[in-house]
Symmetry: C2
Subunit: 202 residues, 2 copies
C-alpha cells in the first residue's frame, strides 16, 4: 500500500487534538477549536495515503486513521463511490466532518410530534475545505450522500469516541429504529509516527 | 496480512495504560503498575498479528503496534531473527520490556571513571512472561540479543514517548557515542479498534 507524501500533517492534527482534549473542555469548545484544527488538516490534500482513499462498489467505506489510546476520539476517512449514501442515522457522540475531495450532501432530520422523521431544511452541500459539526444535544440524526453520480468524494470525520465501538441507530422515515455499530472497513492503520528521517534532516 | 485471534487483548492494554497515565503518576508508578499491565498482556500469546512477528535476515525488526495521541507512550514488537543483536544503546525515556516468545539476553553497561563502557554484571536472560524495566535515571545503556542462534524471539516494548521520534545514542565500548533515532520497520499498524462484531454478540 502506498504511503502519503505528508503523513506529518495527520500526525500534527492528532497531537494537537490530544492537546485540546487534555483539559477536558466543554463540547462547544471541542467543536469550535477542534473544527479549526480539522479545517487546517483538510486545507491541503497531500496527506491521505491512497489505501484509505479507495471506494468499493458495494458501499461507502469507513477507514479508521487513528484511535486515541483512551478512546476519547477517532479519525475516520469516509470514501463515497459514485451515488453512494448512508442510511438515516445518529451518532450519540460529538462529531466533526471535514470535506477533503469531491462533495457531499448532508440532510438533517427531526422527529415530528407524531414520532416520524422529517427532513429539516434543505440538504447542506459540503465542498472541500468545509467543516460541519454534529452534537447529540443539538440533534444529530442525518443522512449523507455523495453529491456526485460519477466520481468519488472523501470526507474526514472526527468523533468523540472510538466510533467503531459506539452503539447507535439507523432510522426509517416512519421513525422506527434499528441498533447498529458501524465498525471499520480496514484492518490496518497508517503508521504516521516514524519521524526518524525528518528529524535526521533537521 | 493475517489478523490475530484476539486483538482485544492489545486494545485493553492500550486503554488501561492510558488510564494509568491519566493522572500523571511518577515514573516509579508507571514502571510498577505499567509493568503489571504488560505482564498481563504477554501472559497469553494469542494477540500479536503475524505481520508484526516476521523476522528479517538483515536485522531485528521494530514494529510499532500503537502510538498514543499525545506521544505519551508507544508499543513496539521487537522481532529477533536467529543470533541478531542491537548495538549498545540508551533510551532517554522510561521503558518496559515484556518477553512474549523465545528468549533474549540484556546486558547492562555503566560508564567507568575513565569514560569507557563496562558491562555491569552478567547478562539478564528474559524468558516468556518476564518484564524488565528501563529508567534513564537508574542508567539505561544496554545491549540486547536473541538468546537463540536458530530461532526467532519476540519481546513487546513500551516506551514513555513515541520512540520513533526520540533522539538517542548508540555507543562503542570505548564510550564514544553516535546520535540515532530508531524509526519503525512497518508502514501500517494493526487496527485493533473495530468492536462491532464482539459488541453485536453481547
Ligand atoms: Fe453521520
Ligand atoms: Fe533497548
Ligand atoms: Mg491517546
Amino acid at each position: 500500500m502506498p504511503t502519503s507524501k505528508n503523513p506529518g500533517r495527520l500526525r500534527d492534527f492528532v497531537t494537537a487534538f490530544a492537546a485540546l482534549l487534555e483539559n477536558k473542555p466543554p463540547q462547544a469548545q471541542i467543536l469550535h477549536d477542534g473544527g479549526a484544527l480539522l479545517q487546517q488538516l483538510i486545507a491541503v490534500d497531500d496527506w491521505l495515503p491512497d489505501a484509505y482513499a479507495q471506494p468499493q462498489p458495494e458501499r461507502y467505506q469507513q477507514y479508521l486513521l487513528h484511535a486515541d489510546s483512551a478512546e476519547r476520539f477517532s479519525i475516520v476517512s469516509f470514501v463515497w463511490g459514485p451515488g453512494q449514501t448512508t442510511p438515516i442515522h445518529d451518532h450519540t457522540v460529538w462529531g466533526l466532518i471535514g470535506m477533503l475531495r469531491g462533495a457531499e450532501y448532508a440532510q438533517a432530520y427531526r422527529r415530528s410530534a407524531g414520532g416520524s422523521l422529517q427532513a429539516e431544511g434543505a440538504p447542506l452541500k459540503l465542498t472541500p475545505g468545509t467543516v460541519e459539526t454534529l452534537s447529540p444535544e443539538a440533534g444529530d440524526i442525518h443522512q449523507v450522500r455523495n453529491a456526485f453520480a460519477d466520481s468519488v468524494s472523501i470526507s474526514i470525520h472526527v468523533y468523540g469516541a472510538n466510533i467503531g465501538a459506539v452503539q447507535r441507530s439507523v432510522y426509517a422515515e416512519d421513525g422506527s429504529s434499528k441498533a447498529f455499530i458501524s465498525g471499520y472497513s480496514n484492518s490496518h492503520l497508517p503508521n504516521i509516527w516514524d519521524r526518524s528521517s525528518e528529524l535526521k534532516k533537521s
